[in-house]
């Protein structure tokens, strides 16, 4: 019964390895770019997501599985994006409230814990 499903063609794992290695080197290079921090952050997150999806698609064979399994794998991502948006109003409220004396408030806050 086991392993009777149609065998998919094995991807060339060494190509994926080189892609991941090169992307890691690019990531480290991007950190030292003399541009805006926001742009660097955006580039780093995109590179990390590319690497993560390469691992999921080829090493975890998600590309060759049924699409419903892909939906299961995507669910936590979607929920995490929701979570970030749910946290955002709280953060902006906090920053507005504490901008003038933010340093002292944070250090007091840290001491009480």
């Amino acid at each position: 019964m086991a392993n009777t499903h149609a065998q998919h063609e094995e991807p060339n794992y060494m190509n994926i390895f080189w892609a991941l290695a090169v992307l890691t080197v690019i990531e480290i290079g991007v950190v030292y770019l003399p541009t805006a921090r926001l742009l660097i952050g955006f580039l780093l997150v995109s590179l990390a997501c590319t690497k993560a999806s390469l691992v999921a698609m080829y090493f975890m064979h998600l590309k060759f599985e049924r699409s419903t399994l892909g939906i299961i794998a995507l669910t936590p991502m979607i929920l995490c994006v929701f979570l970030i948006f749910m946290l955002l109003p709280d953060l902006t409220a906090y920053n507005k409230q504490h901008t003038p004396t933010v340093k002292t408030v944070v250090s007091e806050h840290a001491e009480t814990h």
Binding site: A2, E27, L83
Partner: protein, 209 residues
């Protein structure tokens, strides 16, 4: 044969249901569902880390305090161990026992070196005064989030090394053949997930300034 016995017989003969998502085994679907749940744990921790960092104006620069040369090598090491894992699975699929065991052993060694380097890094950072509750450079939450995130991931690597070792031992007994390699595929899924999470942790904790 009485009617009751015939009914009983027909019940016994019902073959186990096949999962519609992963025809190979239920175990593989189970691992995917577990990983989806685990991804939410990491997602929650990373989102919490981001929120705390965004509301702390005196967050230390990770590039200057943590250093990335060692962790960049650790990232590379985990990627290599993912490659040896897919090679082990591929060898198991083709019934190449020696190659399968060798690549699985290499994967375990990669995970163990990763853990050793992480222990070294933690030792170095704690000797510089960075703890769960404070550090010499700024917001105390820097240390808290760092140790919780890398510690949670390290526990996963440790669990993975134990899991891989169990699979290696049953592999040495010759349990996995070209017709029966499903447990190897499942341990591979877990190991690649640990690699995937490290890629994200490395970016968010070490690289973003």
């Amino acid at each position: 044969m009485s009617e009751a016995a015939a009914v009983l017989q027909s019940h016994v003969d019902i073959p186990p249901a096949e999962t519609p998502l992963t025809p190979e085994s239920w175990g593989k679907l189970g691992m995917w569902v577990f990983l989806a749940g685990d991804a939410m744990s990491f997602g929650g921790l990373l989102a919490g880390y981001g929120a705390l960092r965004a509301s702390s104006p005196d967050w230390p620069n990770p590039l200057h305090t943590l250093g990335i040369s060692l962790t960049a090598f650790m990232t590379f090491l985990l990627i290599c161990s993912s490659v040896t894992m897919v090679k082990a699975l591929s060898a198991a699929k083709h019934g190449e026992q020696v190659k399968f065991r060798l690549f699985l052993l290499l994967t375990i060694i990669g995970g163990t070196i990763f853990l050793t380097m992480q222990a070294h890094e933690w030792h170095h950072l704690t000797s510089e005064g960075m703890t769960m509750s404070g550090n010499p450079w700024g917001s105390s939450l820097f240390g808290t989030t760092f140790f919780v995130l890398t510690g949670f991931h390290g526990c996963h690597v440790f669990g993975g090394v134990v899991y891989l070792t169990c699979i290696l031992f049953s592999g040495l007994k010759g349990r996995y053949t070209a017709d029966n390699y499903n447990p190897v595929e499942i341990v591979g899924l877990y190991w690649h997930f640990v690699d995937l999470v490290w890629i994200l942790v490395f970016t968010f904790v070490y690289l973003i300034q």
